[in-house]
C-alpha cells in the first residue's frame, strides 16, 4: 500500500469519525430537500407536462450538489477554520491534497443519496422514464467534484470565514432564482444568458440532463466547461491550502 493511499484511508476514517455526529443529520436533511424538491415542483406548476417535469427533475442533482458544495461546505469549512482545525491538520506529515481528497469523499457520500432519491422519486412521481447512459457516473462525479472544489476555493480563499458565509448566502439566491436550472435558459434576459454561457451552472444541469434523459443537450461542451471549472477550482484550492501565513 503506498504511503499516500494509507494516509488517505486513515484520514477518511478521521473525517468520517469527526463528522459522525453531523453526518446522519446532514444526509437526512439532504434527502428531505430532495423529496421536498420533487413534491414542491407540483405546487409551482399545477399543470406540469412530462417534458417540463423531466427537465426540472433532472436539474435537481445540480441544485442539490451546488447547495452542498457552494453553501454547506464553505460554512462547515469556515467553522473548522475558526476552530483552528487546519492549523492542526496541516501540521501532520500528510500531503494536504490527500486530506482534501478524504474530505471530498465524505462530501460526495453526503450528496449521493439525495441526488439518487430526487431522480428516482421524481421520475416515479411525474411518470416519466429515465434514459440512463453509462456516462452518468463520470458526469455526476464531475459535477460533484467541481461543486466541492469551488466550495473549498470560496471557503479557503475568503479572508475571513464570515465573508465565506456571506458569499454562500448570495450564491444560494443566484443559483435558485437566476440560473437556468429551474426553467429553460430562453426565459432569461440576454445579458444573463451571456453570463451563464461562462458559468458552470447551466452546463452542470446539462450534464445530468444529457446522461439521464433523451433531452437534446451538447454533452461534449458541458463536459469541457464543467471540467475547466473543476480544474480551476482544484488549482485555486491547491494554492490556497499550501499558502503559509
Amino acid at each position: 500500500m503506498t504511503k499516500a493511499l494509507r494516509s488517505y484511508l486513515l484520514l477518511l476514517r478521521w473525517q468520517a469519525l469527526s463528522q459522525k455526529p453531523l453526518l446522519p443529520l446532514n444526509m437526512a436533511v439532504q434527502i428531505m430537500i430532495a423529496i421536498g424538491f420533487v413534491i414542491g415542483l407540483s405546487f409551482f406548476y399545477p399543470e406540469i407536462s412530462e417534458t417540463t417535469a423531466k427537465y426540472l427533475i433532472t436539474g435537481a442533482p445540480t441544485i442539490i450538489i451546488l447547495m452542498i458544495g457552494l453553501v454547506l461546505l464553505p460554512q462547515i469549512v469556515g467553522m473548522a477554520r475558526k476552530e483552528g482545525t487546519f492549523d492542526y491538520m496541516w501540521s501532520l506529515p500528510i500531503p494536504r491534497m490527500v486530506y482534501i481528497a478524504a474530505d471530498a469523499t465524505i462530501w460526495i457520500l453526503v450528496v449521493l443519496p439525495g441526488v439518487i432519491i430526487a431522480l428516482a422519486m421524481g421520475a416515479a412521481y411525474y411518470g416519466f422514464g429515465l434514459d440512463i447512459s453509462l456516462l452518468v457516473i463520470p458526469a455526476l462525479l464531475l459535477v460533484a467534484i467541481s461543486g466541492i472544489f469551488l466550495g473549498y476555493a470560496i471557503a479557503h480563499g475568503a479572508p475571513k470565514p464570515e465573508i465565506a458565509h456571506l458569499i454562500t448566502q448570495i450564491l444560494v439566491f443566484v443559483i435558485m432564482i437566476f440560473s437556468p436550472v429551474m426553467y429553460p435558459v430562453e426565459q432569461l434576459p440576454d445579458w444573463l444568458v451571456k453570463i451563464h454561457n461562462f458559468l458552470p451552472i447551466k452546463y452542470m444541469a446539462d450534464l445530468s440532463r444529457g446522461t439521464l434523459t433523451d433531452l437534446d443537450v451538447n454533452l461534449g461542451l458541458a463536459f469541457i466547461v464543467v471540467g475547466a471549472w473543476c480544474v480551476a477550482g482544484f488549482i485555486i484550492t491547491y494554492f490556497l491550502i499550501r499558502r503559509r501565513r
Binding site: S7, L10, L11, R13, W14, L17, S18, Q19, K20, P21, L22, A80, E83, G84, T85, D87, Y88, M89, W90, S91, L92, P93, I94, P95, R244, R245
Partner: protein, 317 residues
C-alpha cells in the same frame, strides 16, 4: 545541531515585527524552553518551524536541511501540539491518539500499546472512550499532548502544553515530557509559566517583543542575580502599593503578588520592612529567598504576564 534558527524575522501587516531577528540552536535530546510573555512571538516562531507561517527573512534548518523551502521535511521530523485545541469533537480520545499515531507512521500494535501507556501514565483512562466534544479543556489538552507524543518526531514541539491542566496531572505531564527527551526526542517547549519551566527544561531562550533577551541554562540566566535575594509579598485583598523603599530593585506586581530583588546587604532592612507591613495588615505573607528563574525573567522582560499593573505604578521612595 538538530534545530538551528538564524536571524529569523516575521513581519505581519507590513509593520508588526512578531519575530525580530531571532537566532537559537537546539541540540539533540534536550528539553529546550521558549519563554516569553503573551505576544512575545513564541507561537509565531514555532508556526514557522512547522511550516504554517512563512518567515519574512532568516533561516530555519533541521538536521542541516532548510525547512523554509522544504516544509514537508519539518512535518516529517516534528510532531506538534498547537496552542489551539485539537479538532477532535467527533472522535473519542483514544481514537484521536491512535489515528494520529498511525498517520505518523506507527504500526497498529506499537500505536495501541503506546496510546494505552500514555493514557495510563497521564491518568486520563476514565475519558479515553469519551467524545472530544464532551471533554473539559484540560483533558482535551492532555489528549492533544498524547497525539504529539504517541509516535514522537525527532523534535516534539509543545505550545503551552500545561494550559488549563490541573496541578496533579501537570506534574505527570512534566514527567512525560522529560521521558520524551530520555527516549531520544528533542523537546521544544513553549510556555509563559516560568516557575514550571525552570524545573523542566535543560536550556531556554527568553524572548520578548520578537527579540531574544537571554539564552542559557536556568543557572546561567540567574547568574546576573547573584548577591541578590528575592522578596515576594502577598497583598491583603484590596490593598494597593504606590511606593516602596529604595532597596527594592525592579519591583513588579502580578495580581496580588509583589516581587522584588534586594541586595544581600539589605536583607535586614527588607525583613524589618516586611514584618511591619504584616503587622499593619497590609500584606498576608512575605517570602525571602534565593533568586529564581522568574527573577531573571522579570529582569529581562520587565513584567510577568499581561495582567500586571502597568510599569511605573509602583515607585521607589
Amino acid at each position: 545541531m538538530l534545530l538551528e534558527i538564524n536571524n529569523l524575522v516575521k513581519v505581519f501587516n507590513k509593520n508588526i515585527r512578531a519575530n525580530d531577528g531571532i537566532s537559537l540552536k537546539v541540540d539533540e535530546g534536550e528539553v529546550f524552553g521558549l519563554l516569553g510573555p503573551n505576544g512575545a512571538g513564541k507561537t509565531t516562531l514555532v508556526n514557522q518551524i512547522i511550516g504554517l507561517a512563512m518567515p519574512t527573512s532568516g533561516s530555519i534548518t533541521i538536521n542541516g536541511i532548510d525547512v523554509v523551502s522544504k516544509p514537508d521535511y519539518a512535518r516529517q521530523t516534528c510532531s506538534f501540539q498547537a496552542q489551539t485545541q485539537v479538532p477532535i469533537a467527533g472522535l473519542t480520545a483514544i481514537q484521536a491518539i491512535e489515528l494520529v499515531g498511525l498517520i505518523r507512521g506507527g504500526d497498529n500494535i506499537q500505536v495501541r500499546e503506546r496510546s494505552r501507556q500514555l493514557i495510563d501514565s497521564l491518568e486520563i483512562g476514565e475519558w479515553a472512550n469519551k467524545m472530544g466534544a464532551t471533554l473539559s479543556g484540560g483533558v482535551r489538552r492532555i489528549v492533544a499532548f498524547c497525539m504529539a507524543a504517541v509516535i514522537p518526531g525527532r523534535i516534539v514541539i509543545l505550545d503551552e502544553p500545561t494550559n488549563d491542566i490541573d496541578p496533579v496531572r501537570r506534574r505527570l505531564l512534566w514527567h512525560e515530557i522529560r521521558s520524551l527527551a530520555d527516549t531520544g526526542s528533542t523537546v521544544l517547549l513553549v510556555t509563559h509559566n516560568v516557575l514550571e519551566a525552570e524545573r523542566a527544561v535543560d536550556r531556554l531562550t527568553i524572548i520578548d517583543k520578537g527579540k531574544v533577551v537571554g539564552t542559557g541554562t536556568a543557572a546561567d540566566l540567574k547568574d546576573q542575580d547573584k548577591n541578590h535575594m528575592r522578596l515576594e509579598l502577598i497583598l491583603e485583598p484590596g490593598m494597593i502599593f504606590h511606593k516602596v523603599p529604595k532597596f527594592l530593585e525592579q519591583t513588579i506586581t502580578s495580581k496580588r503578588r509583589i516581587i522584588s530583588r534586594i541586595n544581600e546587604k539589605k536583607v535586614t532592612n527588607a525583613l524589618n520592612w516586611s514584618q511591619s507591613l504584616k503587622e499593619q495588615g497590609m500584606i498576608e505573607e512575605f517570602f525571602l529567598g534565593p533568586t529564581t528563574l522568574e527573577d531573571a525573567y522579570v529582569r529581562m522582560v520587565g513584567r510577568l504576564d499581561v495582567l500586571e499593573m502597568p510599569d511605573g505604578d509602583i515607585k521607589n521612595d
